[in-house]
């Protein structure tokens, strides 16, 4: 009887432990909004909240790429996501030329770019065993170089297809459409990662590669696949980014790279791999965006904005990531 009770207590406790980071992230967002309401007038409003979610959606989407690659372990990180997205947007803008019937070509091209970049990243990191940080950084440079070559001496022309604009830029009533996409994606990702075999493999490979290897899992293959998935996702996000902006330009995606990693970390994804909760990443992205909005609204200028962003992120990491034994 007492044993049963202690089991129940343990499971209730583990529920809190399991979702601790989500709860903290949600509370932090709430705190920022309240702080904004006190210091800046009209900060806490439905419109502002929806706008923040819309702005943070791209960080959250790129955060999914990061989470998958990080979860597979081995020091995984993908610095090339923003550049892959840019490449897709720049290439497909002129192909679509604002027509819906050309969307399928754009999708095929996006798929191709994503597969190519992801496969290259995966092969070089998992099979040639090069450090992911440097490989994906050099890959970013290669992609940016490719974009430079493609756009050399001409303007980037073309418009996204209306469907993309409706998904990425428009709203249904007050609610931005991309929010529905994000909610659907979150559900799909959560089901995929926690209820399917492949999700279990991903986390298993990240948590303990030796055990995974000994139980017959092809660690290199799983890690390569994680980069391919990240590349394809990044490429598709490029289409949405194009839809949101309405036109393509040379560095439209590169500013999302580091924030997406930060969102993953703030969302409770350990950089050592093997764990992660996409809902946390989404909350992390919303947190970062709310923080940026608040610092902009305070009107301290660039200097105050970046100092505040850095200090809050650092303080957050202190209470948040360093929950292991201190030295």
């Amino acid at each position: 009887m007492s044993l049963q009770k202690s089991f129940q207590a343990a499971s209730a406790n583990s529920f809190f432990v399991k979702y601790k980071k989500l709860i903290i992230a949600a509370l932090l967002i709430l705190f920022l909004f309240l702080l904004g309401e006190v210091t800046v007038s009209n900060f806490l409003s439905i419109g502002q909240i929806l706008l923040t979610i819309k702005l943070s959606s791209f960080i959250a989407l790129f955060g999914l790429c990061q989470m998958i690659v990080i979860a597979a372990g081995g020091g995984g990180l993908d610095l090339s996501v923003g550049y892959t997205a840019t490449a897709t947007a720049v290439l497909t803008a002129s192909m679509m030329d604002g027509k819906n019937e050309n969307l399928w070509i754009a999708l095929l091209v996006a798929l191709g770019i994503g597969l190519l970049v992801g496969a290259a990243n995966g092969l070089l990191t998992a099979y040639v065993k090069l450090p992911p940080l440097v490989v994906t950084m050099a890959m970013s440079q290669i992609i940016q170089g490719g974009i430079n070559v493609y756009t050399a001496g001409k303007n980037i022309t073309g418009k996204p297809s209306p469907v993309l604009q409706i998904i990425a830029a428009r709203t249904s009533g007050p609610i931005p459409n991309i929010m529905f996409l994000l909610i659907a994606l979150t559900v799909i990702v959560m089901v995929f990662l926690y209820k399917t075999r492949l999700g279990a493999l991903l986390f298993g490979v990240g948590a303990n590669p030796v055990a995974a290897h000994l139980s017959g899992v092809d660690v290199k293959k799983i890690r390569s696949i994680s980069y391919v998935v990240s590349g394809v996702l990044a490429s598709l996000i490029g289409l949405l980014l194009l839809g949101n902006m309405g036109l393509a330009f040379k560095d439209m995606g590169s500013n999302y790279v580091m924030p997406s990693i930060a969102a993953a970390v703030v969302g409770g994804v350990p950089l050592t791999g093997g764990d992660g909760n996409y809902l946390g990443v989404v909350l992390g992205a919303i947190f970062l965006q709310t923080l940026t909005n608040l610092l902009v609204a305070l009107g301290w200028g660039d200097a105050g904005k970046w100092t505040g962003f850095g200090i809050v992120l650092f303080l957050l990491l202190i209470v948040y990531v360093s929950n292991r034994r201190k030295r």
Partner: protein
């Protein structure tokens, strides 16, 4: 594999070292550059090259110290920018003594930056990638606060960090030395000397131990947090030297000038043969790696590759370089390890 039989002989012993491939690559790059650039061996052109390469070399050497200790510094570019802003903020054109104050204050700021980074990663155990990413914004913000737009003033003698001729009116000696010796070389040699001294001390060995395996180092009684803080502080010293050079060259501060150097310095260290996992490599390798990357840029420039292709080729060469050195290490070492990812 093959090296086993002839391990004793001299040539084999040299070629079986993992860093051999990066030195080989450096020699190839030097030959290529010498072929492409007609006046490569003239004193003037050597001096100009050293000046052009110096910032990356210095920042990469500092980066290597941190990587050896098992860390990473994504804030080194912003730290460099911040130090140039601090230097030009303190200096007043009409007050030659203010240059001395500026150097002292910038030096103290440099130490502080290193301590904060080391405290976050070493003592609080925040992953270095994200900890130094956060601090890079703090440095950037403070730099923008000191100098919202590039500019500022420096004292007349500060140019000595770029060209000894700046002091030739004081003594003819500087004019003579300035004709063949760029101060950048002195700064780089000072950087080498710094690592030479550190590597002879217990701290130097501890940096390798902590980078190789933080937990076992901790278990064997090494104060790992302290060692990591020291590594970041040494890194700051290199960044400080680079900042002196920059302000000497331009006489101004810029809150964003260092940004491109951050990732390039990491690439330089890895291309030179410093293992990103920590504990293996050497600070001098980062110097070699920085030289390779800089020469690649020169070769691309002189080989008449269209401007649009330069970024593309540069990125591809980084991957080829690290893949080459990795393949070389795999082929020349005979360690048995479980073949996993």
């Amino acid at each position: 594999m093959k090296s086993g039989k002839l391990r004793g002989s001299g040539i084999r012993r040299i070629t079986s070292k993992p860093e051999f491939s990066s030195f080989l690559m450096l020699v190839i790059m030097l030959v290529l550059t010498a072929v492409l650039q007609k006046n490569f061996f003239e004193t003037k052109s050597i001096m100009r090259n050293i000046n052009a390469f110096a910032p990356l070399i210095l920042v990469a050497m500092g980066q290597a110290v941190v990587i050896l200790s098992g860390g990473l510094d994504l804030s080194s570019g912003s730290a460099l920018s911040l130090l140039t802003c601090v230097l030009t903020f303190v200096m007043k054109k009409n007050d030659p003594a203010s240059g001395v104050y500026a150097i002292i204050i910038a030096f103290l700021v440099a130490i502080l930056l290193g301590v904060i980074n080391g405290f976050g990663t070493g003592y609080l155990r925040i992953p270095p990638v994200i900890a130094t990413f956060a601090t890079s914004f703090i440095w950037l913000g403070i730099a923008l606060f000191l100098r919202p737009t590039p500019g500022g003033e420096s004292v007349w003698w500060f140019g000595v960090f770029y060209d000894f001729n700046a002091l030739k009116d004081v003594s003819g000696f500087f004019g003579t030395v300035g004709a063949f010796l760029p101060p950048a070389l002195v700064l780089i040699l000072a950087g080498c000397l710094l690592w030479f001294m550190v590597s002879k001390t217990r701290t130097g060995r501890y940096i390798y131990a902590v980078g190789g395996n933080n937990d076992s180092a901790y278990e064997s009684g090494i104060k790992t947090a302290k060692v990591q803080i020291l590594a970041y502080v040494i890194n700051s010293m290199y960044i400080f030297l680079a900042a002196l050079f920059f302000v000497g060259q331009t006489g101004s501060g810029d809150a964003r000038m260092g940004d491109p150097l951050t990732l390039r310095s990491i690439a330089a260290a890895v291309v030179g043969g410093v293992a990103l996992a920590g504990g293996r490599g050497n600070v001098y390798f980062a110097l070699v790696g920085a030289l390779i990357l800089s020469l690649v840029n020169k070769i691309i420039f002189f080989a008449d590759i269209p401007y649009a292709y330069q970024t593309l080729v540069g990125g591809a060469i980084v991957i080829i370089a690290i893949a080459g050195s990795q393949a070389y290490i795999t082929a020349s070492t005979r360690t048995k390890e479980i073949k996993i990812g």
